[in-house]
Amino acid sequence: MKIIWINNDGGGFADYVEAEDGTTVERFFSEKMHGCKPEDHLIRVNRQPVARNHILQDGDRITCTPVKIQGAA
């Protein structure tokens, strides 16, 4: 199935990616954001907060935004 994946941790570009049927949000995050903790990010599916075991559907839109980002001067 195709998922719209927007990763705001970095470039913030939107991409269509493939995911297996039955993939949960937790599994998708661990695959795409290897080494990162879900609790350090705001994860939204179709603009809504979801549980970690929420199963993704074809055409879903996932955004991931870090809770902490370092600014500068």
């Binding site: 941790d9 939107a14 705001l42 939204r44 980002i69 370092q70 001067a73």
Partner: protein, 339 residues
């Protein structure tokens, strides 16, 4: 929600209109960069024709000159090609539909407990919760997006971060947050993602990214560090001073205001009044590093005076030796008198 559904739809349409203008500007940018590149290609074509003529007429000197021109143009082409690639990269963002932007605004309203729109200034705004970092209370902030500025995306012109309950740094009232000065946020690591979110019409992502920067303290690069947010306290008198008006003592490492600090007259290092001591010889105030003891009498003197034997005990010794030399002069006078 402070905006009605109809107003929200109108704002979403306005945003899309400006993003379309932005997309048109970016395509024009690609054309401009392409013009520069094709100019270089045309130059090469002209040089190529010149080389052909020089070859036919055996103009070797002219051939050499044209070859050097080819080298120069060849060196410039990668720069112009890179500019075209960057301009193309900027065009890759799709302009979302009004419906998508509308949904994004609904999400922003839910994430931030209220979305506000100023019809006069065409500014969309959300507010953060009160922010405290490392024990310093900074208050809450409004993140303001100026919608017409989306068409140009000039740095510093698209959004502002305004302190609603300002607790600015004591040394600089324009700094209301370690990473905000004069309403301008320095986004640091979030810069690229923020620009991408704005250009893609992902307004809620934009607001969330700004909030993530505001709730994080980067102690390696603030306008004013949180350690000095309330100013620096002088170790001597306790007076709170601007960091520019405070100096560390090179001897004891504590920080002092300008009134309580001085300098060593021997090495010029900044030294506090407590650490400075008087040299018994020259009576100048010197730091502990420049002060030593006379090996003869134990007087505290500076190293310079010690090297030049200027300790008062040496002067006393010279005076004493001078007194011992005087008697032979008196005996001679008595002998002359006898004769």
């Amino acid at each position: 929600m402070s905006l009605s559904r109809r107003e929200l739809a109108r704002v979403a349409s306005d945003i899309r209109g400006h993003l379309l203008e932005l997309a048109r500007r970016r395509y024009r940018e690609v054309q401009q960069k392409l013009d520069h590149l094709t100019d270089q290609a045309q130059r090469l074509a002209a040089i190529r024709r010149g080389l052909s003529t020089c070859d036919a007429r055996r103009w070797h000197a002219a051939e050499e000159k044209l070859t050097r021109q080819i080298e120069q143009v060849s060196r410039d082409i990668p720069y112009y090609l890179g500019a075209v690639e960057r301009a193309l990269q900027a065009c890759r963002l799709n302009v979302p539909s009004v419906a998508e932007i509308y949904q994004d605004l609904l999400q922003a309203d839910a994430e931030f407990d209220g979305l506000r729109y100023d019809r006069k200034t065409h500014t969309l705004a959300v507010s953060t919760e009160p922010i405290g970092l490392d024990g310093v209370f900074l208050g809450d902030f409004a993140i303001q997006l100026h919608i017409p500025a989306l068409a140009q995306m000039r740095p510093g012109g698209v959004y502002q971060v305004v302190a609603l309950n300002a607790q600015p740094a004591s040394s600089n009232p324009s700094v209301t947050h370690p990473h905000v000065q004069d309403g301008q946020l320095c986004p640091g690591d979030a810069g690229t993602a923020i620009n991408s979110a704005l250009a893609g019409g992902r307004i809620c992502d934009f607001f969330m990214l700004i909030r993530s920067v505001l709730t994080t303290y980067n102690n390696s690069s603030p306008y004013v560090s949180l350690d000095n947010w309330y100013g620096i306290a002088c170790y001597g008198c306790g007076y709170t001073t601007h960091p520019d008006g405070a100096s560390p003592c090179y001897s004891c490492d504590n920080t002092f205001c300008n009134e309580c600090s001085s300098y060593c007259r021997s090495c010029d290092d900044t030294t506090c009044s407590e650490c400075l001591q008087n040299c018994k010889a020259c009576e100048e105030t010197v730091c502990p590093s420049c002060l030593t003891e006379c090996p003869e009498c134990g007087n505290p003197i500076c190293k310079s005076c010690l090297d030049n034997l200027r300790c008062p005990c040496h002067e006393e010794e010279e005076d004493h030796e001078g007194e011992q030399d005087d008697p032979p002069a008196e005996a001679g006078t008595a002998a002359d008198a006898a004769v």
